[in-house]
Amino acid sequence: MTKAAELAKMGEVLTNSQIGGRRNIVINGGMQVAQRSSSAVTGIGASDGYFTCDRWNFNTNGNSAGRLTMSQASDGPSGFANCLKLECTTADTSIAAAERFFIEQKLEGQDVQQLKKGTSDAEKITISFYVKGHDSATYTVGLYEGTSGRKIAATFPVTTSWVRQTVTFDGDTSGVIPDNNTAQLHLRFYLHAGSNYTSGTLGTSWNADGNTTQISSDGNSFFESTSATFFLTGVQLEVGSQATPFEHRSFGEELALCQRYYQQSYAHGTVAGTATNTNRVIRFVDATQSYAGHWIAFKTEMRVAATGTPYSPGTGTVNKIRSDSADHPAVFGQSATHGMHAYANNSSIGTSNGLNLHYKADAEL
């Protein structure tokens, strides 16, 4: 790049107010945080869910036979210690019309107001990310805005080497995003789709055309063979027309941001249901009780009152709380954004027992 071009780019960045802190709207774009599992999770494909790297949701419909393994891998590009890795384990080359899967991050409406979507001042949006695969391929990246159903997309190439891809979308003067704590803007990487989503011409400008223009018909299917892989990291979504360098945040910062949506008592990366006393919640019961419990104060304020799931530290059994030597039925009762109440459900805990518990709390979008 010539000096003049560099200066022009810098000027554009300054004009767009892209210099300054907190540029990246995406959480855990560097894939550092994987509270639920830092190990590979196998057999993914039948159900939606959050499996490894926090905030990154696997979304499927149409009952594809394809299956994959998802993991937080250390095979990142220079400057990135982690990435999200997908490996196809069951191929699906007979793609039914309704099949689709994508990896997405959902963003709260109150966190994307700076995009000015739905106004005459709507800002351009630039998405950048590092990606590689097992072979050359083409996939679709897009934004979907839930309230108005408007969307926009573009294709991107994947090679066997890490490459930073950049896509800039125009601002959208239609479809105001509500200023609230619900899922409003969805950043999606579409990796498999049937004709219900590909039969139209890809909608590369903001539209509300429905599903058929959502995904490129020229794209590959991740499920095309069991040798398929897809690696992703360094995901950034920012206001403006230029991709600025990836905004690296500390692990602690990213973890706290992720814990607004999900947190667990287990150590980072330990699968809920593991039999372990490490990081358990414990208190002592001084007199026999049938409803002995814990009030669990969350590590950070959660998005909404959380769904709680209790586990016995001693055996890893779900819906159990543990005294010194036995599991007891457990429930989560009142839940709030700042904590929740777990207790033994009409099961006698004797005097001088410990009351041991692991939990996960889910306030995901």
Partner: protein
């Protein structure tokens, strides 16, 4: 709603076996379970309400 959850069990939980419903216990065909609060922005409670709107009924507490 673009996330789909298929419930296999949905029932109320009452406070200390009393009459006050304090959460809803659920299990899904994906092997997930939990106690959902009555919070209209909680994704599990939203999915349960949609499930009820489809004609299903939340079981009374044990």
């Amino acid at each position: 709603m673009e996330n789909t959850i298929t419930f296999t069990t949905v029932k109320y939980i009452t406070l200390k076996g009393g009459s006050e419903n304090i959460s809803i216990y659920f299990e899904t065909d994906g092997g997930e379970s939990g106690f959902a609060p009555f919070d209209s922005a909680n994704r599990h409670y939203q999915a349960i309400l949609e499930w009820v709107a489809e004609g299903n009924t939340i079981a009374e507490a044990d």
